[in-house]
Amino acid sequence: MGAVTYPNEKVVKFVDYNFVPVQIEVSNTALMNQFKVTWTPTIIVLDADGNEVYRVVGFLPPEEFIPTFMVAKGKWYFNADQHPEAQGMFDEALRDYPDSAAAPEAVFFLGVSRYKMSHDPKPLRESFDTLTAKFPGSEWTKRAAPYRLIPA
């Protein structure tokens, strides 16, 4: 990550704007054990209380790093019941990186965020329909399968 992704100008700006970054060397066994990290790179998104929001293990190139952590930031908002802001992050990830590996998860949580705001189940069905059409092999399409029962 240090050689390819972190020097990328878009990544630098994205991280600076959205996160408080902290790096921990593998020699810090106390934190490695606390977070049960057994391989690097491992990147964990935490809220200010230290609660884990999102975890990625392994290398991500810049064009995957940014949408992946857009989804992570969206889930940070989601967990804090800030659903309009969460929807904004998921929308942004899908608008700017529609074909990224993070896109199916963004579609899934976009539907859930919209449901949380409206209590109308139709967004869940729309997420299922989008996932089925665009990402039929995704695990998120399988997770959304129950929403097929919601009337369109």
């Binding site: 790096q23 060397e25 790179p41 491992t42 964990i44």
Partner: protein, 33 residues
């Protein structure tokens, strides 16, 4: 350019910054070798 790492190895300070700036912490475990 390079990432502006706010807190190298100091999670407590990063969490305090996160609370003040209303941003999440990006905790990157890495092997410098």
């Amino acid at each position: 350019m390079a990432l502006n790492i706010c807190w190298l190895g100091d999670l407590a300070k990063a969490k305090a910054s996160a609370g003040q700036t209303k941003k999440p912490v990006l905790l990157d475990f890495f092997n410098p070798k």
